[in-house]
Symmetry: C2
């Protein structure tokens, strides 16, 4: 019976996507006598929590919260962070029932559900839980695995090429390109290898209206980008370069991270920098390195056929006896392109 309200809460939560990281996006609605009397969402990192925004909005309108129901995507926090605990506010408000999508996996947040029950507030758990977990997947991965959520995004021909026999690769896909910018607007960081920077000199910015640029993470193992000028070094976004080279020098704006440049080291380092999600955008060798660490793979395909050229996973090696590692969860198509979304077959 709470599904419709939870759907609305999820919708509200999405307004914070890409703005609240590494916090989770959260949405909340207050319901009385079967209708929504107030709404709220977590708008940006450090901003008010969804529950607080909803309750304050109800009060401003002069609504009586006694006996009301709060529907919120994530278990309300019970600790003093950038804002006071939401639990206390909810208990004081006279709200009688709290409905949550999923529990907060972060031990720091305390046990909101238990506190409510101790105060005689009814708690209903697990409403649209799968959808809510998907909404919070960056946060859940970040908190429980202590690494960012990893997405792989490649643009390939029908025959698995990301560049033609001359090495050209720009605009393999076009019609579905806006989706890449939607991703860059949501993921905290994008990551590419030095080869891609040298060859394409990409901006890696989000070209959506009202969009925000992700952190640019560059993997420059040998320091080949040292002392040179590239668009990825521009000051319109935070830039982190992972390199093994002590000598390598980058513009002052760039954060240089000396590292063994293994995927594990990079992910641990990004976690320590509070980066909850990273979109790996290439090239071929980087895809191959990150493939076994991907939480989701977005394969953009054009119906172009190159015959010869650079393979999308040129650094990978497997064979027909190995079962597939990904299951297809969604496919979209437009004109001469399609986008396949894949997730690991077995997830803990």
């Amino acid at each position: 019976m709470y599904e419709t309200f939870m759907k609305r809460a999820i919708e509200l939560a999405k307004k914070g996507l890409g703005r609240v990281n590494p916090n989770p996006p959260v949405g909340a609605v207050v319901v009385k006598d079967g209708r929504i009397i107030a709404e709220g969402f977590h708008p940006y990192f450090g901003g008010p929590h969804a529950e607080r925004m909803a309750i304050e909005s109800a009060r401003k309108k002069g609504e009586d919260l006694r006996g009301a129901t709060l529907i919120v995507t994530l278990e309300p926090c019970d600790h003093h962070g950038k804002t006071p605990p939401c639990t206390d506010l909810i208990i004081e408000s006279g709200i009688k029932t709290v409905v949550i999508g999923t529990r907060d996996p972060n031990p720091v947040s305390g046990n909101g559900v238990e506190k409510f029950r101790n105060h005689g507030i009814e708690v209903i758990e697990g409403v649209l839980e799968e959808e809510v977990k998907k909404l919070c997947e960056f946060f859940i991965t970040y908190v429980t695995k202590k690494r960012p959520f990893v997405a792989l995004k490649y643009a390939s021909t029908l025959d698995g090429k990301i560049a033609d026999h001359r090495g050209d690769s720009k605009w393999i896909t076009d019609k579905l390109r806006f989706k890449v910018h939607e991703m860059r607007n949501i993921y905290s960081a994008v990551l590419v290898g030095a080869g891609t920077v040298l060859k394409d000199n990409p901006q890696l910015t989000c070209r959506l209206k009202e969009g925000r640029n992700p952190v640019r993470v560059i993997l420059d193992r040998k320091g080949v980008l040292s002392g040179k000028v590239f668009r990825v070094f521009e000051e319109n976004a935070r830039v982190i370069v992972f390199t093994e080279s002590e000598e390598a020098e980058y513009p002052p704006h760039v954060e240089k991270a000396l590292s063994d440049c293994s995927v594990e080291s990079i992910l641990r380092n990004l976690y320590e920098r509070d980066i909850d999600s990273v979109l790996v955008e290439g090239g071929s060798k980087v895809f191959s390195e990150f493939l076994d660490h991907a939480d989701v793979v977005f394969g953009f395909y054009s119906t172009k056929i190159f015959g010869k050229g650079l393979d999308v996973f040129s650094g990978y090696l497997s064979d027909v006896s190995v079962p597939p590692k990904f299951k297809v969860v969604n496919v979209e198509f437009s004109d001469s392109e399609f986008l396949v979304e894949m997730r690991p077959c077995s997830r803990e």
Copy 2:
């Protein structure tokens, strides 16, 4: 207002798919006072036409056909073929209105529409015409282009490989495999190169209950299959081998076609043998040769990734500046596989 009845006629017509070639599948319903009083379809090559079956069925039930409406997918024939003209039968029956999906493109069939109008029968044309044309696409291609309808079907990994680095290729796809057998049940012929026969020794049969095997067409340019035993030479289907080699010898059951083995020659020869449709199943070089002649491409993809191996279009060469030749018309997915159906971007 006739769409629902035409949908039913299309459904009936489909019962003849793979059985009536090189004739078109045809379905018909007779409607009186808004309800279907009889149905018919063309069941097999040389069998009764759909219109005849429907009219005879109505008569057997003692229905009065005067003033009735006949809805039939294709314009009724007006010539003496294996059966007498349907036009005469319809005119005699007292049917007042004839509704057709599309005109018969075969000049041999005569002009049924004109004949009806000359006899005071109302003719309504073009009902669900696109669907009906798709239903009859083998026939329309065969009659108007004087070549079989060409489909390409490949099974590839995500990265465009049809065999791994060891050359192994069996069971790249599995879950959607039944669709291949559905295709073999409908296409008049399947075609593979000698390389595929040598490597996989496939049967190329239809393993559906009640299925029928397509004609097997083998492209053995150099005669490498000469004097050897393969499953494709078994007598459970008609076999045609195209070869440049005068010396090559095949089992007595096999039809040897001496040819320059160009795609054009092969298609012309198959047309002359009354083959209206061919499903090209590999391998890599054959796909590359037939690609520019394909009326439809079925790409079966597994989420497996080989990294290295045999490219699906290893004999093809294009580049990023060439616009896509195919548009995506449908995508299905199941578990770790997806199937992309593509059609040429511009069709005459």
